[in-house]
């Protein structure tokens, strides 16, 4: 499998209260063709910002550092015009709330065909035929009639399927799905997860999946990155990370879930994640960590490779120290 996307030392800083605050800190990951790579973490951990940064969809005056190599080209250095041919065409996005990400006064037909006409110069009837095909692919009943309807006329699950159709209509190679099922019922969520999985298998679609739901992650992603306070703290094959978490934060996230077997679930993590303005010395998780040692308060851990796993936690059971 060839890497379609390679992200190296991605750093995002935004101005806040007169100084620059780092909200994404030296993040590295790669996505191969036909692969689903996940980023998990609590709200405010920087997972959405790191994906918005891939397409330079950042707030004004934000500073972006590092490299984002997509299909051989660096998007951080790319010109605005080159980037425009990537956005929506090569890399498409699906957001959490399809009501907020769709123009309420445009018909579904217009929402679906606009970017086809921009990117490919399709004529009206060609774009329409393609839109009907896409709606069939995401299993919207009566596609022809649906093209004339407006977003509010659909249920949440249908809207999210239309959002996915709209993202995939230009046949992008990478889909960024930011909490694509968080607003949906489990029964509807299951349908969306199955749809994404079939698109991955049948069209070699690569997906970056952003979600705090480790159940969803477990169903879809083959590689899992866990983020905390703007940094990746643990990364590896989803199965290995979920079944044998090594970072105390990953463990705590898993323990906070309702139980699936007989173990007691919903053990809360004490405290709350730090605000980006907060300057925490050492490991950013140490104030909430039950395994924190005195070293953790002063030495910032580096993400270090241990066999098949990346881990930013020196007191790891294997006691392999990554920090200088």
């Amino acid at each position: 499998m060839k890497d379609l996307l390679e992200v190296e030392n991605l750093t995002v800083k935004v101005p806040s209260q007169g100084k620059m605050v780092t909200i994404v800190d030296r993040v590295n990951f790669a996505v191969a063709e036909g692969q689903v790579v996940g980023i998990a973490g609590e709200s405010g951990s920087g997972k959405t910002m790191s994906t918005l940064a891939l397409l330079r969809l950042l707030p004004p005056r934000a500073v972006l550092e590092g490299r984002v190599v997509f299909d051989g080209a660096d998007l951080v250095a790319a010109g605005e015009r080159a980037l425009r041919s990537v956005r929506g065409r090569q890399i498409a996005m699906v957001f959490q709330d399809p009501m907020a990400s769709m123009h309420p006064m445009l018909s579904i037909g217009r929402i679906l065909t606009d970017h086809l006409r921009v990117h490919f110069g399709h004529n009206r009837s060609g774009a329409r035929a393609r839109a009907i095909e896409m709606l069939e692919a995401v299993r919207i009943p009566d596609p022809e009639k649906s093209l004339k309807a407006y977003p509010h006329q659909f249920s949440g699950g249908m809207r999210q399927r239309i959002a996915i159709a709209s993202a995939l209509i230009c046949e992008p190679r990478l889909l960024i799905a930011d909490e694509p099922t968080t607003a949906l019922d489990v029964t509807v969520q299951a349908g969306i997860l199955r749809l994404l999985d079939s698109l991955r298998r049948e069209r070699q679609l690569s997906v970056m999946l952003i979600t705090h739901d480790l159940g969803v992650m477990s169903a879809l992603a083959s590689v899992l990155n866990v983020m905390y306070a703007g940094r990746i703290v643990e990364a590896g094959a989803t199965r290995a990370v979920v079944q044998n978490p090594r970072h105390p934060y990953t463990r705590a996230l898993l323990a906070a879930l309702p139980r699936s077997g007989d173990t007691r679930g919903m053990r809360a993590i004490a405290g709350s994640p730090p605000a980006p303005q907060e300057d925490i010395s050492g490991c950013p998780f140490h104030p909430r960590c039950e395994f924190a040692t005195r070293d953790c308060e002063v030495i910032a851990p580096r993400l270090t490779q241990l066999e098949e796993r990346w881990l930013a936690c020196p007191p790891d059971p294997l006691r392999i120290r990554g920090a200088a």
Partner: protein, 360 residues
Amino acid sequence: MVGVSSRSTPDPGRSVSVLELEDVQVEYVRRGRIPVRAVAGASVSVTPGEIVGLVGESGCGKSTLAHAAVGLVAATGGKIRFGGIPVEPLTRRARSPHLLPLQIVFQDPFLSLNPRRRVGSQLADGLTARDSNGSNRKHVAELLEMVGLSNAAADRYPHQFSGGQRQRLAIARALAGNPSILVLDEPLSALDASAQAQIANLLVDLSQRLNIGMLLISHDLAIVREMATRISVMYLGVIVEEGPAEEVWSSPQHPYTQALIGAVPQADGLGQLPNALAGEVPDPSRPPSGCRFHPRCPHAFSVCFDRTPTIRHSSASRRVACWLYESADAETGADNPLRISIRDRVRSGPTFDGTGGTPK
């Protein structure tokens, strides 16, 4: 004994305050359009100290039922009683004082707290409603402590808190009424996994410590199983299954409950896709004939298309509304002509087509 601290031992006078909903119906009338029966006959009861979960998909009527339970919407049929006295729907007049121990916590703490008032004064409202001398800082501090917040929170505004902390404030405000029953409308769904766990633990702890009964409305069956003693499953305005939480989770009887549980993705790293339920929730203004779940039900057979199943005991502790379980307790249903006819129909063998069998 006015102070909040006096509640560490349950008040014996409160313990009779059971919330009973009996065959409740709520219909929304829309001008020029077909009325929507959001709740089409649902019965639930909550006693102090127990947590009853009410689960279902969005649009199934669970929030409407929660609002009807505290009088925020008027029921168009059935009975709602709190402590034996009917719950009157809210009007322009003050809410009846006997309803004060019946409180509600809403889904979105960003919307349910007043952004322009300090937290302390918002909490004091509830204390004043209980006792006009009750609203001093000490009692506010006690409320904050009960939900795990420091006294300093009283002087701040809601926007200065995180989502989880704000939900704590909303719970504190409900506790100010010294409730014996708390209705919780999706109290966790706006929160992150770790904040969910914190609030879930807080609620279970409050329920046990203060002997508060809770009606927990949620779309997340996994969380409800964790918190509740009993679960009611709702589909399109009716309750289709009811029983002890652990039993419903481990051996669901209604095909809808089975579908809900099968759709929960497991964080086991096995890469298994959850099972999707075919179709969409039907338009509640035009519910399907017969069993409301039949168009999406993998086990639907001809009876389901035209006869509505009623909820009945499938065992001593469990009830289910499904034709699949009708013949199981046929002995007790001898006085029910419908049931006899169904039994006869089923017995009529494989040629049974749902139209013949017994004369109508």
